[in-house]
C-alpha cells in the first residue's frame, strides 16, 4: 500500500467531500422543501474542491489565482442579484458560457503545456483524446450558450433562423471536427488538429442553436449543461482529478436527462427540437415571450406540483365539469390538497351549468360538504382574492371579465367570479371552445392564467 502524504490526504479528503456534497445537493432537488439547503451544501462542496486544489503541490503562484477569484466573484455577484426572475433562463445561459470558457481555456493550456513537454507527463493518446473532447465540448458550449442568451434576451431574434442546406453544413462541420479529433488522438502532437477541433466547435455551437426557437431554449441550455459536464469530465481525465470527473458526469447525465424531460413536458420530441426546427415556430412555451397574448398552457404534472404547495385553493366548476362528470375526480383532488394542509373551497356561480342548482347537484353527488361551498358571488370573490390557486373546471361565461369590462358584451352586467385575483389560475377545458354565450374569454390570456387542456377529468 503506497501511503500518501498528509497534504495529499487532505486534498483527496476535500475532493471526496466535495463529490459527496455535489451528489447530495443535486439529490436535495428532488424534494422542494430541502432544495435550498441542499444547494448550499453543494456550494460548500465547491469550496472544498477549491481549497483542495489550492493545496495542490503543483501550484507555484497564488497571486493570479486570488485575483482571478476575486474578480470573478465581483462580476458574478451583481449579475446574480440584479437579474429579474423572468430573465433567469438567459442568465443561466450567460453564466454558463463563462464556465465553458474556463473549461476550454484549461484544455488549451493543458494541451500547450503537455505538447511542450514541460508538464509532469508527456502527451499520451488517451490524454490527447481527453483534451480534444474537452475543448470540443467546451468551445461548443461557449458559443452555444452565448447564442441561447442572445435569443432569450432578444439580442438576436427569438425565431428559428434557418437556411437551405443547414443540416448538410452542420453535419459536414461535425464530421470534420471528429476527423480532426481522430487525427489528434492518432498523433497527439498534431497541434493543427487540436486547434481545428477548437475552431470548429465554436462554429458548431453557433450553428446548432441558430435554428432553434426561443421557446425551446431551456431545452438547449440543459443540453449545453450536459456538454459542459462532459468537458469537465474530460478535464478530470486529463489532469487526473476525480472531483472533475464526478461533477462532470453528474452534470453530463443530469443535463441530458433534464433536457429530455423538459422537451417531454413541452409535449415536443427532443429530436424535433434539436434537429427538426424547421417550419413553424413553436406556439408557446415556458420561457418563450415571443408570441403576444396566446393563452399559456401547462401540463397536468406541473399543475399538480404547484397545487401540492398551495395553501388555499378555490375551485370554480362550470358546465364542463358536469359534462365530463368529473365531480369524483375533483373530490379526489380536494382530498389530496387537504391532506397537504391546503384548504379547498368551491365557488358555485348562480348560473353555472345549464339549470338552476346544476353544480349543487353535481357536487353533492360527489359527497362534497355544503360547508365547502361558496354560493355568494361577493363572498367567493373575497376568498378568491386571497387564494393561492383558482382552478376553473369547465367554466367559461361565469368567469368572463367582459361581463364587467365590456359594455358591448352580451354578458355585460352579469355578476361574475374574479379568479384572476388569485395568485395563479388554472383553467381546465377541452380546447378553445366558448361557453353558452358563445363569446371569447379574455381571462384565458391573462398573465397569471395557465391553461390545462383536456377533458375535465384530467388532473
Amino acid at each position: 500500500m503506497n501511503e500518501l502524504g498528509t497534504r495529499d490526504l487532505i486534498i483527496q479528503a476535500s475532493y471526496l467531500a466535495a463529490s459527496v456534497l455535489f451528489v447530495l445537493g443535486l439529490r436535495s432537488l428532488t424534494r422542494p422543501a430541502q432544495a435550498r439547503l441542499g444547494m448550499q451544501q453543494a456550494a460548500l462542496g465547491m469550496l472544498f474542491a477549491v481549497i483542495g486544489t489550492l493545496l495542490n503541490a503543483n501550484i507555484l503562484t497564488y497571486q493570479w489565482i486570488i485575483i482571478g477569484l476575486v474578480v470573478g466573484a465581483i462580476i458574478g455577484y451583481p449579475m446574480a442579484m440584479k437579474v429579474q426572475m423572468t430573465q433567469m433562463p438567459q442568465f443561466i445561459a450567460f453564466s454558463h458560457a463563462f464556465g465553458a470558457i474556463a473549461a476550454t481555456l484549461v484544455g488549451v493550456v493543458e494541451y500547450r503545456v503537455r505538447a511542450a513537454g514541460s508538464g509532469a507527463e508527456g502527451l499520451t493518446h488517451g490524454l490527447a483524446a481527453a483534451l480534444g473532447l474537452e475543448v470540443l465540448f467546451g468551445a461548443l458550449t461557449v458559443t452555444g450558450s452565448f447564442m441561447a442568451f442572445g435569443k432569450l434576451h432578444e439580442l438576436i431574434t427569438g425565431r428559428p433562423i434557418t437556411f437551405k442546406g443547414q443540416n448538410a453544413v452542420n453535419l459536414t462541420m461535425m464530421a470534420v471536427a471528429f476527423g480532426a479529433l481522430g487525427m489528434l488522438i492518432y498523433n497527439p502532437a498534431n497541434g493543427a488538429a487540436f486547434y481545428t477541433v477548437l475552431g470548429l466547435a465554436f462554429l458548431l455551437g453557433i450553428s446548432m442553436v441558430l435554428p432553434i426557437g426561443g421557446g425551446d431554449m431551456p431545452v438547449v441550455i440543459s443540453l449545453l449543461n450536459s456538454y459542459a459536464g462532459l468537458a469537465a469530465s474530460a478535464t478530470g481525465f486529463a489532469i487526473g482529478n476525480n472531483v472533475l470527473i464526478i461533477a462532470g458526469a453528474l452534470e453530463g447525465a443530469g443535463g441530458f436527462i433534464l433536457s429530455l424531460m423538459m422537451s417531454k413536458a413541452m409535449n415536443r420530441s427532443f429530436g424535433n427540437i434539436i434537429f427538426g426546427a424547421f417550419g413553424a415556430p413553436p406556439a408557446a412555451s415556458t420561457g418563450a415571450k415571443g408570441e403576444a397574448k396566446e393563452p399559456k398552457s401547462i401540463t397536468p404534472e406541473d399543475a399538480a406540483v404547484q397545487l401540492a404547495y398551495a395553501g388555499s385553493v378555490v375551485i370554480v366548476p362550470g358546465y364542463g365539469m358536469a359534462v365530463a362528470q368529473a365531480q369524483h375526480v375533483c373530490r379526489e383532488l380536494m382530498e389530496l390538497i387537504e391532506k397537504k394542509g391546503g384548504e379547498v373551497k368551491y365557488a358555485i356561480h348562480p348560473v353555472a351549468g345549464r339549470m338552476p342548482g346544476h353544480l349543487n347537484v353535481i357536487l353533492s353527488e360527489a359527497g362534497i360538504d355544503y360547508g365547502a361551498l361558496l354560493t355568494d358571488v361577493d363572498d367567493a370573490n373575497r376568498v378568491l382574492a386571497t387564494a393561492d390557486v383558482a382552478i376553473i373546471i369547465g367554466a367559461n361565461d361565469i368567469v368572463n371579465p367582459d361581463a364587467e369590462d365590456d359594455k358591448s358584451s352580451p354578458l355585460y352586467g352579469m355578476p361574475i367570479f374574479r379568479p384572476w385575483t388569485a395568485k395563479v389560475v388554472f383553467v381546465i377545458k377541452r380546447g378553445k371552445g366558448t361557453g353558452f354565450s358563445g363569446v371569447e374569454n379574455p381571462l384565458f390570456t391573462k398573465d397569471n392564467t395557465l391553461m390545462l387542456y383536456g377533458d375535465a377529468k384530467g388532473v
Partner: protein, 361 residues
C-alpha cells in the same frame, strides 16, 4: 300441499302475500297454489302473471280455501274469515295490528294454526323472513317522500340566479330499520340530516349514512334483546323530550319512527315542542299506528298545529305495494320453505323460529 292466497279485503291494503315470482318457486318445489281473482292487482301483479307462474286463479273465496293446507295473506283474519277456513290448515299472515281475541277463538275452533309474521325472531338466520324489516324499509322511504311533498321547501341546496336556497333540515327520531332508510332517503334528496336514537349502537349507524347523530345527555343505555329498544325511565324520558324540543325548533321536517315492541310508542315530541317549531314545518309520525311519537298525532290524519303539519300515516307499505309485496312475498316464501318438509307442511312448535311465531290462544 295446497297453498291459497286470498285477495286482501282490508281498506288501505294493496299488498299481496305472494307475488308471481314466489308462486312459481313454490310450484316448482311441488306445491299447488291457488290465487283469488285480482289478489295481486292492486300491487301491480295481474292474474295473468300468476297463471303463467303456475297458479290456479279462483274467483270464489270458498272454492279457493277448500282443501288448502296453508293460507298466506297479509292482514290478520277477521273472526268471520277465521270461521270459514278449512279445518286443520295453517295460516300465515300478520297478527298484529288487527288480530282480535274473537278471531283467535274462531281459529282455535277450526283447529287452524296461526303463524304471525311480525313475530319472526330477530336472529341472523331468520333475517330473510323478517317482515318488520322489509316493510319498515318501505315506510322509512315513503315517510320522507310524504314529508318532502308536504313541506313548502325543497330539500336540496340550490344555487340559482334567483338566490341560493338553503338545504332543508331533516331530523329522524329512532334509527331502526325505518329510521335509517328515512335518513338515507333524506340524504339522497340533499337535505341536512340529523337523527336521534336511544340505543348507543345507533349513533355509529346514523353516522354510517352520513348524517349527524344528536347526542343527548341521558345516562344509561337502552338496547334490549334482539335489537329492540327497551322503555326509558321517567326522568330520562323527560330529558329526551326536552332535548328533542330544543333541536326541532330549527328543523323543517321531522320523521319519527321510535317504537318499543308490545307497548304504546313513547311520546317524544310534546305539545310545546310542536309549538316551538317554525311555521310550515312538517312532522311525519311513523309510530301513528301504535299511538304516535308526537302528542298531536292522529292515526291516518294530518293535523295542522299553528302551521305545523303533523302527519300520522297508516299503511305506508301499501303505498309502494309493488316492492312491499315483493319483499313480503320473499319473506313468506322463505318461511314457507322453512316449515315444509318434502312438500308437506311440518310445523314444529319446538323450532326457534316457528315456535316464536305460533299464536297460542
Amino acid at each position: 300441499m295446497r297453498i291459497a292466497v286470498p285477495r286482501e279485503r282490508a281498506p288501505r291494503e294493496s299488498r299481496v302475500a305472494l307475488v308471481p315470482e314466489s308462486v312459481a318457486k313454490l310450484v316448482k318445489s311441488g306445491a299447488t297454489v291457488a290465487v283469488e281473482t285480482d289478489a295481486g292487482l292492486a300491487a301491480g301483479f295481474p292474474d295473468a302473471q300468476y297463471a303463467s307462474a303456475g297458479a290456479t286463479i279462483i274467483p270464489d273465496t270458498n272454492a279457493l280455501l277448500t282443501g288448502a293446507d296453508l293460507i298466506c295473506q297479509v292482514q290478520p283474519p277477521s273472526a268471520a274469515q277465521a270461521a270459514q277456513l278449512p279445518d286443520g290448515c295453517a295460516l300465515v299472515s300478520y297478527w298484529q295490528p288487527g288480530g282480535t281475541p274473537e278471531a283467535l277463538t274462531a281459529l282455535a275452533g277450526r283447529n287452524v294454526r296461526m303463524l304471525a309474521l311480525e313475530r319472526v325472531p330477530r336472529i341472523t338466520r331468520a333475517q330473510s323472513m323478517d317482515v318488520l324489516s322489509s316493510q319498515a324499509t318501505v315506510s322509512g322511504y315513503k315517510a320522507v317522500l310524504l314529508g318532502a311533498s308536504a313541506l313548502p321547501k325543497m330539500l336540496p341546496m340550490l344555487t340559482t340566479a334567483a338566490g341560493t336556497l338553503a338545504p332543508a333540515k331533516v331530523f329522524i327520531i329512532g334509527a331502526g330499520v325505518a329510521g335509517l332508510q328515512a335518513i338515507a332517503t333524506a340524504r339522497r334528496l340533499g337535505a341536512v340530516v340529523s337523527a336521534f336514537d336511544v340505543r348507543p349502537a345507533a349513533m355509529e349507524q346514523i353516522q354510517s349514512l352520513g348524517a349527524t347523530a344528536l347526542k343527548l345527555e341521558l345516562g344509561g343505555g337502552a338496547e334490549g334483546t334482539g335489537g329492540y329498544a327497551k322503555e326509558q325511565g321517567e326522568a330520562q324520558a323527560r330529558l329526551t323530550q326536552e332535548g328533542i324540543a330544543k333541536h326541532i325548533a330549527g328543523v323543517d321536517l321531522v320523521v319519527t319512527t321510535a317504537a318499543i315492541p308490545g307497548r304504546r310508542a313513547p311520546i317524544l315530541i310534546t305539545e310545546a315542542a310542536v309549538r316551538g317549531m317554525k311555521t310550515g314545518s312538517v312532522i311525519v309520525d311513523l309510530a301513528a299506528e301504535t299511538g304516535g311519537n308526537c302528542e298531536f298525532t292522529k292515526a291516518g290524519e294530518t293535523v295542522d298545529v299553528n302551521g305545523v303539519q303533523v302527519i300520522g300515516p297508516l299503511g305506508l307499505p301499501s303505498t309502494a305495494a309493488f316492492h312491499a309485496s315483493q319483499m313480503l312475498s320473499r319473506n313468506i316464501l322463505t318461511f314457507v320453505t322453512h316449515i315444509t318438509k318434502e312438500t308437506a307442511l311440518n310445523i314444529d312448535a319446538a323450532d326457534e323460529i316457528t315456535g316464536a311465531m305460533l299464536v297460542q290462544p
